[in-house]
């Protein structure tokens, strides 16, 4: 199968959906000729023109609000938010308006929009361009949240998101834009709420989101060399969450580590760990462990930044300790 980058996968998904449905359009800062700073959208304006690849002023609440109104009245906007950190700027439009409109109108109005943004530290971009803020929006009923872990997921989830009648936020890991993965030539969609078992195992379950899936896979590789069989699961969407697959694996292996790049406290790792505790407690041989980003603003210095995020070695180390029955606290 051909290999393409995550960036190309997103670009293909958008182009295919824009060809299929003329109500789909892209709106955001430097999306047209510039194709975004990450060049993810390169070439789209040539095919679809500036009326459907719409450059905006630097005004995140403004263009987000416009997208909400456009979605309510018959179009399917894909909003490009240059950095996930800017999500704080659009919180009212996303969480008070987009997320609640369908509910507050008793089901009469809908907001079929996609918010494309990113997450991920270690790009040496400091505290306002490195955050992983997906837990903030996953907290809000009415929003769906997708977290692609490779080019394959990025394409399939984006196409599903565009066809979904709800507001969907997709977080791409900005360090993965150039990572290649096998992506079929023919069309496919990845349904929301279906986790992917990336690697089967019997001793411990490693649940990872976004780029943390690769971290878990590498940890599983290390552990395999030591005779520990780790299962790796990628939920792919955290809202909706495929709880059944996660619980099934937890019951099978009896040990779980949840790895996510959001801050550890009050985050995705805590939520998933809690659900497993509530529903698989009597199958567990060890406490479910959370491994998130350190609860500090992301530092600039590489010497500091690198120790704030989970690593394969760190996950493997915690897995060993869980296997040996040691009581531990991550981070």
């Amino acid at each position: 199968m051909r290999q393409i980058t995550l960036s190309q996968a997103v670009n293909e998904a958008l182009a295919e959906e824009m060809r299929r449905d003329e109500t789909v359009f892209i709106i955001g800062e430097d999306v047209a000729e510039a194709g975004t700073p990450f060049k993810v959208l390169a070439g789209l304006v040539e095919e679809f023109g500036t009326s459907r690849v719409v450059d905006t002023p630097i005004a995140e609440p403004g263009f987000m609000g416009i997208a909400v109104g456009a979605a309510m009245t018959g179009t399917r906007p894909v909003v490009d938010l240059m950095f996930g950190d800017f999500i704080y700027l659009i919180m009212d439009q996303l969480c008070n308006q987009a997320a609640k409109t369908h509910y507050m109108s008793g089901g009469k109005l809908k907001v079929p929009l996609v918010l494309r943004t990113n997450l991920g530290a270690t790009r040496r971009s400091a505290a306002q361009h490195s955050q992983s803020l997906h837990a903030l929006v996953a907290h809000i009923p009415g929003l769906k949240v997708a977290m692609p872990s490779s080019a394959y997921e990025a394409k399939g989830l984006m196409k599903t998101a565009i066809r979904d009648d709800n507001p969907v936020v997709i977080f791409e890991d900005k360090l993965m834009y150039n990572d290649k993965a096998p992506v079929p030539e023919e069309e496919y969609l990845i349904p929301f709420g279906e986790a992917n078992i990336k690697r089967e195992g019997t001793d411990i379950t490693l649940i990872g989101t976004s780029s943390m899936v690769q971290v878990c896979e590498k940890a599983a590789e290390i552990l395999a060399g030591e005779g520990i069989s780790a299962e790796v699961i990628d939920p792919r969407t955290i809202v909706p969450l495929d709880e059944a697959t996660l619980l099934k694996s937890a019951r099978k292996t009896s040990r779980v580590i949840v790895v996510d790049e959001g801050h550890q406290s009050y985050g995705v790792t805590g939520e998933i760990a809690s659900r497993i505790n509530e529903k698989a407690f009597y199958h567990l041989d060890a406490p479910v462990l959370r491994m998130g980003a350190m609860d500090v603003p992301v530092p600039f210095s590489p010497a500091l930044e690198d120790i704030t995020v989970p690593t394969p070695e760190g996950v493997a180390e915690n897995a060993r300790r869980l296997m040996s029955g040691e009581m531990i606290h991550a981070a």
């Binding site: 002023p57 609440p61 997208a67 109104g69 009212d92 008070n96 507050m104 109108s105 089901g107 109005l109």
Partner: protein, 331 residues
Amino acid sequence: MAKSKHNTEDYLQMYRQMVRIRTFEDNANQLYLSAKMPGLTHMYSGEEAVAVGICEALEITDKITSTHRGHGHCVAKGAEFKEMFCELLGKEEGYCRGKGGSMHIADQSNGNLGANAIVGGSMGIATGSAFTSKMLGTGDVTVCFFGDGATAQGLWYEVMNMAALWNLPVIYACENNGYSEYTKTEEIAAGSITARAEAFGIEAHQVDGQDVLAVNELTQKLVARARKGEGPFFMELMTYRYHGHHVGDINREYYRSKDEEKDWKDNRDPIIRFRGWMVEQGIATEEEIEAMNAEIKADAKAAVEYALEAKYPDVSEVDMHVYVGVEHALA
């Protein structure tokens, strides 16, 4: 009164709609004072000529966005008393199945995209609705209602900028009732309000918001031009709210004198003025007008009685309409 080019039915319709709003609000206020309504509400009384003058210049397919003080817009855009009172009382037959209430009432069937409880929160939505109109070529015009207090919100400047850049068919209608909640507007707004729109090259008008014909005449012209792609436009409508910020804001002399309120009610009431003009012009007799008033009062009374007896939504509805396509979000 302003000059006009209407037939008798147009005048009667404008009068009827203004009286319907006043009557609706009198009943809503009474429901609050008699503790029959959950929560609280914001009265539109005194501002009727604004909503009616504007909405009578719109087609049913044109869109509006409304505010926390939104009953007037809802009635003026064509809503029925029964569904409105049901919504105010949280009943199943309300426009939003009781899920929105007074501050979120929406009536998609008549192009009302909804009231909004965030001051200025719908400015993006209105501009986005106009974006859809331009992108899909529907010819619809969107009117964005907001108060003078909302002119302090940054979102407005962001969306006006984009509306002007893209010539969107949106009319920003600022209902200047002189008070930003409990504060005189002159204390919170530096400079002139029309100059804010003019700074973006948007044609701005100030109009007597107590003169329904003046409002209607101006709106008709602007709507026709907006349809031709000459938008956006801005209107500042000088008006007055008879009640406090909300129904519970009774003792308000610390920010507004009784003399001032009396002066507006006695000398500038939009309904009294228009009624006098209609009689003078021979459009309707006093008897015909009294009959119309009585009929509206009876309609409102019947709707209130209906709504008071109507069913609450079944508790199973609590997790419905969270997501399109998911019957029960928590199932």
